[in-house]
């Protein structure tokens, strides 16, 4: 019965308003660029050029996007269950340990066996790190927002310890593991050279990008084509109705968190197995948090997430190009944009709705006269 804000057609709610919010976030970002004395349009152009203007730029853009698809899907699955998983960062970090432990510890296995095992280990560790907060929420009522934040910090210390005391080869100065030689994913460049004899620009793009596409499809299928997905969405949309329907909230919370953590864990596949080929300190670098922006922007739908992840891939790749071309603009400008996107597409989601509603009604009324 709450119709004080007025009904709007579906395409306005689902299409126009998010676009307006995004535009406002980008305009605000432009203003920040303006404040530091640079031309925002020029900056935008450099970013687009830097990511879409060359094959290399595309490679980097898609590589970043791959990370963000995983972390964005992780946030989205939890969102659908009514949970806010802020712990993607820690889950992905722990997943790196899984990937590296299998990749290094079982490196006597041939790669067709080792690689899937390493991928599964990454997912399992990420899932495990989300499973604990899930269980604590489901069984003990501990607020998942707080526990996942805490688990990010615990992971940061724990993985730091593990790398320092267990993974770092004796005598090595850099805080990182030795190279994973058996279970790595070939970069697009190597594949092109090895199998097709084609030389393409160097970039970290690798086959994980297909894994991201598969993950996006799998999440869509799970949520909208399975009974489990139905239960996840029902719980998130209306917990009382879910209980009435015989859906057990504790079970669904734990399952949704585990899936969410597993998805976040896939980020380690791209980063550790695909690019770095070793476990290194702080390798997640905020991708877990970008996932929140991506999920909000993509409205928690896999298609939206793919698009949003590509936009953020563009911003990250373009942003580093920009900081080369214009040292006055720091790379961290991307973080500012991220923050503004989360602010306008998340917290201020409905800020422009009343104005639009008024506009529609006045237009409607004139039309009727």
């Amino acid at each position: 019965m709450m119709q004080a804000r007025g009904e709007l057609p579906n395409w306005v709610d689902a299409g126009l308003i998010p676009l307006i919010n995004l535009a406002v976030a980008l305009i605000a970002s432009g203003l920040v660029v303006l404040v530091i004395g640079e031309n925002p349009f020029e900056a935008m152009w450099i970013m687009i050029q830097g990511s879409l203007g060359s094959l290399k730029g595309w490679g980097y853009m898609l590589y970043y996007a791959t990370n963000f698809v995983f972390t964005g899907l992780a946030v989205a699955v939890a969102f659908h269950a009514g949970l806010f998983n802020i712990g993607g960062e820690g889950q992905a970090y722990m997943a790196g340990v899984g990937a590296a432990a299998v990749g290094l510890g079982l490196d006597f296995l041939p790669w067709p066996i080792l690689l899937p095992l390493a991928i599964l280990a990454a997912m399992a560790m990420g899932a495990f790190w989300a499973w604990i907060p899930g269980v604590l929420q489901a069984k003990r009522g501990s607020h998942i927002v707080i526990t996942t934040i805490m688990f990010n910090f615990i992971a940061a210390s724990l993985v730091g310890y593990l790398i320092n005391y267990w993974f770092r080869p004796v005598g090595k100065m850099a805080v990182e593991s030795r190279e994973i030689t058996g279970a790595y994913i070939l970069s697009a460049r190597e594949v092109a050279r090895e199998f097709f004899g084609v030389r393409i620009a160097s970039s970290p793009l690798n086959f994980s990008v297909f894994l991201a596409l598969i993950a996006a499809w799998a999440v869509w299928y799970l949520l909208w084509r399975t009974k489990l997905g139905y239960e996840i969405r029902a719980l998130g949309a209306n917990p009382a109705a879910a209980v009435y329907a015989g859906i057990r909230p504790d079970r669904i919370i734990i399952i949704a968190m585990t899936i969410s953590g597993g998805l976040a864990g896939l980020m380690a596949v791209n980063e550790i197995l695909g690019v770095q080929h070793r476990l290194l300190l702080g390798y997640v670098g905020g991708a877990g948090f970008v996932g929140i922006a991506v999920a909000l922007m993509g409205r928690s739908h896999p298609i939206g997430i793919l698009l949003a992840a590509m936009l953020f891939g563009l911003l990250y790749q373009g942003g580093s190009e920009l900081s080369f071309a214009r040292p006055e603009i720091n790379r961290d400008m991307v973080v500012v944009i991220q923050g503004l996107v989360i602010l306008f597409m998340g917290a201020l989601e409905y800020a422009f709705r009343p104005a639009l509603s008024a506009l529609f009604y006045s237009v409607g009324r004139e039309g009727n006269q």
């Binding site: 920040v32 009522g141 720091n330 503004l340 998340g346």
Partner: protein, 315 residues
């Protein structure tokens, strides 16, 4: 002996920003506004304090500007949470990112040192007070100094605890604020503006985070470096939960977490009593303790009932 005195002094120093941020969170959350953005507000304040102090040459002007900066972020959060009824956690996450990004981008533009601010001269900092009389005092002199020789901001932080406890329990504002965090409908129908109350709480949180940030960059340190708050805002949040949203227990929790931070810092240099605990385990202890508490294994955590829920007049 010296080591323990140093540890004690360090504990107090590390506790100060925690106390300020924790009490900031307490005011906000007791009014029903969840504040994940303590970290961001502290960070932007630390940056602005160091910048303004470096340019204008006064720690006090730095503090003033830091409060303004933190306050503006707090008001954004307030607008999102109170007027727009947005998701308060999302808004807090946005504020943290915005602060982290802006501090580096603006710092890079202003000082061209990759986000760092110039080193501050003594008059640009809040230095510990010095009591020469204590030097004369034998035996207990050094011990008393540990407690007294801190900057004015530290004094403010410790004074804040009894003030907050008293204001919440005994004043009209405190009563209404506690009520609005439990049941805003009751406050609204009593003819009191829910929004105004919550804005006041958010403003208090903003001011206190501003002081906390200024303390970090102009008292604990002499310049701003990126990610300077290093999760302190979240540790304050943990302390707030640990203290069950009460002022005096908050002091205890902050001192405990401050002590663990101090031990962590020391352990990087020396091993204690020949017993080596990896520093990472000391660092994670506050968070582990908080999770254990949240899980209900020690005591029961009871947040204000309306916290995080946007207020909507229903029909």
């Amino acid at each position: 002996m010296n080591l323990y005195i140093e540890l004690l002094a360090s504990t107090i120093r590390m506790s100060v920003p925690l106390i300020l941020a924790c009490i900031a969170g307490l005011w906000s959350e007791r009014a029903g506004i969840v504040d994940i953005g303590l970290e961001g507000k502290m960070l932007i304040a630390a940056f602005i304090a160091a910048s303004a102090s470096a340019v204008l040459g006064s720690a006090w002007i730095g503090l003033f500007c830091a409060i303004l900066a933190s306050l503006s972020f707090a008001l954004v959060h307030g607008y999102a949470a109170i007027n727009q009824r947005g998701n308060q956690v999302v808004s807090g996450v946005a504020i943290n990112m915005l602060a982290a990004g802006l501090a580096v981008v603006l710092g890079n533009e202003w000082f061209r040192e990759g986000g760092r601010t110039p080193a501050l001269p003594p008059e640009g900092r809040f230095l510990p007070l010095h009591f020469p009389a204590l030097d004369e005092l034998p035996v207990i002199g050094p011990l008393v100094r540990v407690f007294l020789e801190h900057s004015v901001l530290a004094y403010a932080a410790f004074a804040l605890v009894p003030l907050t406890a008293w204001a919440l329990a005994r004043t009209r504002f405190g009563l209404r604020l506690r009520a609005v965090g439990e049941n805003p409908h009751a406050v609204d129908t009593a003819g009191i503006s829910v929004a105004a109350l919550r804005y006041r709480a958010v403003i208090i949180a903003g001011v206190l985070c501003g002081v906390a940030g200024a303390y970090i960059s102009t008292s604990l340190s002499s310049s701003f470096v990126r990610d300077m708050t290093a999760g302190g805002g979240f540790m304050a949040l943990a302390a707030l939960i640990f203290a069950n949203w009460r002022a005096w227990p908050a002091l205890g929790a902050c001192l405990l977490f401050g002590f663990l931070q101090a031990v962590g810092n020391f352990a990087q240099g020396a091993s204690i009593g020949g017993f080596q605990i990896p520093v990472q385990f000391i660092n994670m202890l506050p968070y582990v303790l908080t999770v254990v508490l949240l899980a209900g294994f020690i005591g029961k955590s009871a947040p204000p009932k309306a916290s995080g829920i946007p207020y909507v007049k229903d029909r």
